[in-house]
Symmetry: C2
Subunit: 115 residues, 2 copies
């Protein structure tokens, strides 16, 4: 009875909420910041930059990979992570839409409309 009713929503809504969910943890935000600033980063370095255990960081990386915001390429025994530019650009554009309408004009509040 507490199963999220995702089937009741549009693919657009589900995709964007999924991206938002991936960004809804401070550790994952920090990973995104690290990768956008450094372009490329070894897994071990990311672990060292976070106050979490290696297993936990690995899970967060997996979540970001799941929604396609980052990718990891095997480099010997290490893994090299970077932002998936195409997907991040797309996510950015979708996110813009949500925030765009209010900038149009006035965007009346309840109070200003009534009084």
């Amino acid at each position: 009875m507490a199963k999220p009713k995702t089937e009741e929503f549009t693919p657009d809504e589900i995709y964007l909420s999924d991206v938002a969910k991936a960004l809804s943890h401070p550790a994952r935000l920090r990973i995104m910041k690290i990768l956008t600033e450094m372009n490329v980063c070894m897994c071990g370095e990311i672990v060292d930059l976070l106050p979490l255990a290696q297993a936990t960081v690995s899970q967060h990386l997996k979540e970001l990979k799941r929604v396609g915001l980052i990718q990891g390429d095997i480099d010997g025994p290490k893994v090299c992570y970077c932002v998936n530019t195409d997907n991040l650009t797309k996510a950015k554009a979708e996110m813009e839409k949500i925030f765009s309408n209010l900038t149009k004009k006035g965007a009346l509040s309840c109070k200003t409309k009534k009084k």
Copy 2:
């Protein structure tokens, strides 16, 4: 042992991850879309536009209010909801930062860097 370690992160990281969390459910995204398009909407109308029970929608509205993305003003027995423009603008600016660095140039991937 599974308590989120929020105290290990910066206020900026926590704030933005909190906004992302508020947007991480398709129902809440749809509410934001409704409010940005209609400027203002009675609670009952929002309930009618969602495939969820009234109690559930009320909880989603509460979550969006908690992070300040919307506000609700009492209007007789009804409640009139609208976007909190100031806060949404601020959240938008913060979100931009996360997405901005990659647009700089190349944003080399692991593979392009190596090969």
